[in-house]
């Protein structure tokens, strides 16, 4: 059974330990920041050009020369990782922005209007969710020329339904709040209610969902590259690198392992950041501003 605290006491308890930021936020933000800096300065940091071949050092294991070893053409895996992070992160962010741009307004509208509007929007989103995501992206990419923007757009559209659902469920929850009724008693217009009354309250949970979506987009992008529908060789991309390293997994596991580890760290970092942000942003979870 949970502790039974009266409101006032609970507020004080939170106030007492409000000062330190959540540990998840600090760790997550650090990881993401390092990744972003590394991606931005990839050309500067990278010890070698990503496509430079060192024929004599093919498949050499990680060493001081080659921090993460080399691949079958003798290209430096670490340099390729850095350059590849640019594409992966860009894809994740653009795709998530697109999915939020579509999902959030639809979710707010469905939750606020209810009734027929709700049914139409939610059923449409359900239909989109029913498609296997990879199939749909593959379909789009197979009939047209692959490009980063198109990949991002495809993934973004696919991620819109879950964002819409989360937004709608939070909105439904908020609808029972009496401040919503106060807004109706003033005869507020739709635009104001959605933007000023609802949206700020939906943000905290959306942060968590958005971080998950970035992760999802990064992974899906990698999968597409792995299958050969995303970024084309010789460009460096994490999914592509894993795919390329497949043939040498027994002799040179670092080729696939290094991008795999990089991806895991990215995923963990972004997830922690999302969790931490929610804790800080939610007014009920911090004591004083």
């Amino acid at each position: 059974m949970a502790a039974r605290l009266t409101d006032a006491v609970a507020l004080d308890v939170v106030a007492a330990r409000r000062s330190p930021l959540p540990r998840a936020l600090i760790i997550g933000a650090t990881i993401v920041l390092v990744l972003l800096i590394a991606a931005a300065l990839a050309k500067v940091i990278a010890p070698y050009p990503f496509d430079q071949m060192h024929i004599r050092d093919r498949l050499s294991p990680p060493s001081l020369h080659y921090l993460a070893g080399t691949d079958e053409y003798g290209r430096d895996v670490f340099s390729r990782l850095l350059i590849g992070s640019q594409l992966s992160l860009l894809l994740g962010v653009i795709a998530t922005l697109i999915s939020m741009g579509i999902g959030v307004p639809l979710g707010l509208l469905a939750g606020y209007r209810r009734g027929l509007t709700d049914e139409v929007i939610m059923r449409a989103l359900d239909i989109m969710m029913a498609f296997p995501p990879i199939m749909l992206v593959l379909l789009i990419l197979a009939v047209t020329q692959p490009s980063l923007v198109k990949t991002a757009f495809a993934i973004g559209v696919l991620s819109a339904p879950p964002i819409g659902r989360v937004t709608r469920s939070v909105t439904l929850d908020l609808m029972s709040g009496e401040f919503m009724e106060a807004a109706r008693a003033r005869g507020e217009r739709l635009h104001y209610v959605l933007r000023r009354e609802l949206l700020p309250n939906v943000w905290p949970l959306l942060m968590v969902e958005a971080s998950l979506r970035v992760v999802f987009a990064v992974l899906l992008g990698a999968v597409l590259s792995f299958l050969g529908f995303g970024v084309q060789p010789p460009a460096a991309d994490w999914g592509l690198m894993i795919s390329d390293g497949r043939a040498f997994v027994d002799k040179a596991p670092w080729i696939s392992l290094a991008p795999g580890i990089a991806m895991s760290i990215t995923v963990i970092g972004i997830s922690l950041l999302g969790d931490g942000l929610r804790e800080v942003l939610d007014p009920r979870m911090d004591g004083r501003r």
Partner: protein, 692 residues
Amino acid sequence: MNDTVIHAPPLLDVRNLTVRYGGHLDHAAVRDVSFLLHPGEALGIVGESGSGKSSIAGAILDFLDPSVRIDGQILFEGRDLTRLSRKDRRAVLGRRIGSVFQDPFTALNPALRIGRQIAEPIVRHLGVKPYEAARRAVDLLHEMGIQRAEEVAGAFPHQLSGGMKQRALIAAALACEPPLLILDEPTTALDVTVEAQILRLLARQRQQKRVSLLFISHNLGIVQRLCDRVAVMYASQFVELGTVHSVLEQSAHPYSKGLLASRPPLRAAARGNRLPAIRGQMPSMPRPDTACVFTPRCPFAEARCTEGAQVLTAASPGHLARCWKADQVGDWPRQGVEAIDQGPFRPGDALVNVTRLRKTFSARRGLAAWRLSVAAGRPRLRYQPSEVAAVDDVSLSVSPGEVLGLVGESGCGKSTLGRLALRLLHQTAGSVEFDGADLSHVSGSDLTTFRKQAQIVFQNIGSSLNPRLSVGEAIERPLALFGLAKPHERRQRVEELLDMVRLPSSYRQRYPHQLSGGERQRVAIARALATEPRFIVCDEPVSALDVSVQAAIVNLLADLRDQFGLAYLFISHDLAVVAQLSDRVAVMYQGRICEIGTPAELLASPRHPYTRMLLAAVKEDPMPEERPAGYQVATSALGCAFAARCPHCLPSLCDTTPPPLRTITASHEAACHFELSSETRHEVASVSTIIS
């Protein structure tokens, strides 16, 4: 009290209990609390929210978070509970100590049948066989005054009313016949008539089984009815402890005096009357080591009060108070009463006119409305949607500047009526007129004008303000929306509005979670006032507030009414609060108005059996016996809605004919077939209704 009780070894002996959240002494929720509870005795702990009273129960019942530090001793039957291992402690809890909490709606597991939940502790603690325990569970339910106990035992929680659930929970708490029962606000979530029944049940159980009660409540009246001794708690400390008689009749501590004085009396009040309120609010982090923590709110405070910690000293034998000048403190000061007998309104000159208003909600429709029945040996599928009338044929009017009180139990439709009056809901039939215009035909700029003139203040202090908007933004919005102030004047206007509700202008930048309940309600009132309305629906505006804060808000509403000539539809379940503020009061039951009149008429000579039942419940009069209605009260579509519970009901008449609204005086009407006189309980069926 007889002497043998006093001299028996105490059942519960709490010594210097201190409960700290987060390790600092500053965050102590309970500070150095000591008390004794003898077998068969009932001790009440009274305090406002945040005073730490629930933390005492939490410490005894081991409900607090493991990070909470508990110091002191809790001796139960001679053993210190704080030193017992988890396993030993669990054996004591439930077996020797029963507990009942505030919210009966969530305390039962929705997936298990009632009987099973009561039998569970019997099986677990007494090692009784399940079928035997199930039989005992039924007996227990029967003892709790439940008719058809077997049916109830087989029911799931959602099938029971709140009062029934609380009875079931008390049955479960008493299942192992524990010598101690701890009750934390057990009746707060219930209607007054149900509350009265639960209190009577507890008193009876206490007498029959010699159970000791530790009764925690914010409500002094309830403690007075049930307990022998009472402790008043303020900001983590006991400030007064003594017999119910000495604490409530001859209270020594200024806080107790203030609490008692700020309770609205159950009588009609003149327009100029104001409740004595306690100014300010309870400190959230009190420091009682250096000064009396009540000093900032105390009208008797002087320099010496801040010169050191206050100690509990005997005001009289067996009566302790934490105030050095307890013996010199006089009565709590009352505010001056201006002689305004009648409001500025003229009856008959209606601002809001509600005529034969009806609102139904569909309880069953769509797929769920298809019913399969077997007729003449043949299955038949029929579409049978069902509707519930939340508001049923209601007519009333509110004059400009008038306060119309609306009283009723939860679910009677009073909030729906308030929302219909503001066109937040659309009626099924009937009409609402505002200032002569029928609201169902109003649109466009006329609707905007109406929205500006009619506002609402809510009950739920947790959700009436958007947590993401600052106080300033919330109050400013109506100004911008209705173009009531130019952008550069808005800030000043917001400060004026804050001043009107007695808040400092610095509160503009605060967010709702930084405000106390009373402050939030003030902001909500300021937001409603910002549109310069003529009519405000107050939907239980003080129900969620503590007594001392409640008095201040009721006074504020009265002040604003007089200052701006506002008309209120004041909705509440609390007759005393309504009587305090209203010019007329309407009593509502199951969607219908059963009686309407001035507070004086209603309180002195209630004519409807339901009004009488409500009054008896709060006055602690013997309640009229209700007709046993089982656990579902069905309304007959034809007759009187109250017939199922009415002690005077004449089935041949009341179940078939709707009672007419009968005029008693010019302002007093009641909807009952019988002319119940104010003196006798004998009634005469009026001739006219029998003929019809």
